[in-house]
């Protein structure tokens, strides 16, 4: 079913996708002419397939549950922010705060993601085939961030328990983020994540970063690191 945003109002398109009648069994949707609109496919709850043909604005696929959303273009700030489950695949580049605060699901970005990718992520798996900008995985709490390109300044600043894998160069690590040993368990997990994103890069080419766990609780000796 094609939903043309040149003819239909954004709100009516979102309402339709948010209130799917399971009995009618329509599970495939294409959104045409997104023209940079904000909040397209926000708040979907059913297991449906949506392909967006073109570039979108802010908060695309925000709060997603179960839906499988493909964006054939670039996305603005906060794609898949606070996603709970499901899958979002961006074929172009993403702006800042991709996958912010998301609790679950998978976000795949074929291009680059800019600053603050995975900020405060809480369980989502993010796979970026290009590079990420500064302050990525800031205060990230759980889940995995895989970067096949390079990472900008202050990667993983104030990190909790997210695993970060980077293939390229890291400009600098943030406070309390350090390089970690890549064990067999991590290699298996990384291989599985790369496979999800259709990438056959070898896990051995990545380095793993995680929390040094020194800033979990306030300690006066660490005051200059905050």
């Amino acid at each position: 079913m094609i939903l043309d945003l040149k003819k239909l109002k954004l709100r009516s398109v979102n309402e339709k996708l948010q209130n799917i009648d399971r009995k009618k069994n329509k599970r495939d949707f294409v959104i045409s002419n997104p023209e940079g609109n904000h909040a397209i496919c926000a708040g979907l709850t059913e297991n449906i397939d949506v392909t967006i043909k073109g570039h979108v604005g802010y908060y695309c696929a925000g709060m997603n549950q179960n839906a499988n959303i493909i964006v054939d273009g670039n996305v603005g700030t906060g794609v898949a922010e606070n996603m709970m489950s499901g899958k979002v695949h961006v074929k172009g580049n993403a702006s800042q705060s991709a996958g912010a605060t998301a609790h679950g699901g998978t976000l795949i970005i074929d291009g680059d993601a800019s600053s603050r990718c995975g900020i405060s992520m809480k369980g989502i798996d993010i796979i970026v085939k290009g590079s990420v900008g500064h302050m990525s995985a800031f205060m990230a709490q759980s889940g995995n961030l895989v970067v096949c390109g390079n990472a900008g300044e202050a990667l993983g600043d104030s990190l909790y328990e997210t695993d970060i894998y980077v293939k390229g160069k890291v400009k600098s690590l943030g406070a309390d983020c350090e390089e970690k040993k890549m064990s067999k368990k991590h290699k298996t997990k990384l291989k599985e994540l790369l496979k999800k994103a259709g990438s056959n890069i070898k896990p051995e080419q990545f380095k793993r970063y995680g929390s040094a766990r020194k800033l979990y609780n306030f300690n006066i000796d660490n005051v200059s690191n905050y």
Binding site: E35, G36, G57, G76, N93, Q96, G133
Partner: protein, 292 residues
């Protein structure tokens, strides 16, 4: 929040439709800036005539025409709503003091190629009022304002022009503008508002006396403190700079015919062939410039 937009034409193909392209961009940025709007449009500077863009404010056109004729022999005045473009072969050092003697009016910009129009009200009303759709040119910059730190007035609207054929639009806020204004005033800069962006424009004009635009903005990274995405225009093109934290958005679309920049992609969705353009976000702390 504010909206900023700009188009630089790499070929002649869209020169006639530049105004129309910019107008749609400004209107779609109304959600980011409903308080006032303005634009600077550059047209060929082959002749020696200077154009002075003036907002008449409360003064009537007839009164201005009568008064200016007493002080200048040859003038050509074009009226566009409450703005006028005064054309003269006389140089700015002669004309500017004369215009200063008219206390009611605001000089919003001058140069051989620039024309500036800005006014309070929604962007859709402002572009309609000045008939932006009918303008042609080589490059143009626009702004929609959501006022935060100074009043909603014509003088508080962008673009700011503080030098010949120069202009600046800004999304963000500066925190060291008062100090910088004092410093620049000592060196002879003149400011007409309390606005932070006017200070940045003055800073750029002051620096352009010694450096080119790219060098100026690179120096600005250490001298201008605050949040910003800037588009700075000169007679030959424009440059874009985001502060190093990059809180304020910007997206660029480049084709073989034009470079467009805006706060959000939706402002560019109507541009010709935009879906095949190279679309990217300018990286923080890096100056991007396009010049003839």
């Amino acid at each position: 929040m504010c909206g900023i937009v700009g188009i630089y034409l790499k070929s002649k193909k869209f020169e006639k439709s530049l105004g129309e392209m910019l107008s749609k961009m400004l209107v779609s940025m109304e959600s980011r800036g409903p308080d006032s709007a303005g634009f600077a449009i550059y047209n060929s500077d082959k002749n020696k005539i200077y154009k002075y863009s003036i907002c008449l404010n409360e003064m009537s056109f007839e009164k201005f025409k009568k008064e200016i004729k007493k002080k200048l022999n040859f003038t050509n005045i074009e009226k566009n709503s409450d703005h006028i473009i005064l054309k003269s072969i006389e140089k700015p050092n002669k004309i500017l003091p004369i215009l200063e003697s008219f206390v009611e009016i605001s000089l919003v910009g001058y140069g051989k190629s620039i024309e500036i129009f800005k006014q309070v009200g929604s962007p859709s009303n402002v572009v309609k009022k000045f008939n932006l759709d009918n303008f042609s040119g080589t490059h143009a910059i626009g702004h929609t304002r959501m006022a935060t730190e100074s009043a909603i007035t014509t003088n508080g609207s962008h673009p700011y022009s503080t030098g010949e054929d120069e202009c600046l639009v800004h999304n963000g806020s500066l925190s060291n503008h008062n100090n910088l204004r004092r410093k620049l005033k000592k060196n002879g800069s003149i400011f007409n508002s309390d606005n932070d962006t006017e200070v940045a424009a003055g800073y750029i004009s002051d620096s352009l006396k010694k450096r080119n635009l790219k060098q100026t903005l690179n120096k600005g990274l250490s001298d201008l403190d605050g949040f910003y995405t800037f588009i700075a225009g000169t007679h030959s093109g424009f440059a874009v700079l985001r502060d190093e934290i990059a809180c304020k958005p910007a997206v660029i679309a480049e084709t073989k015919d034009y470079v467009a920049i805006s706060s959000e992609f939706q402002a560019m969705a109507h541009l010709p062939n935009v879906n095949n353009a190279k679309i990217f976000e300018p990286e923080p702390g890096i100056v991007y410039s396009w010049e003839k």
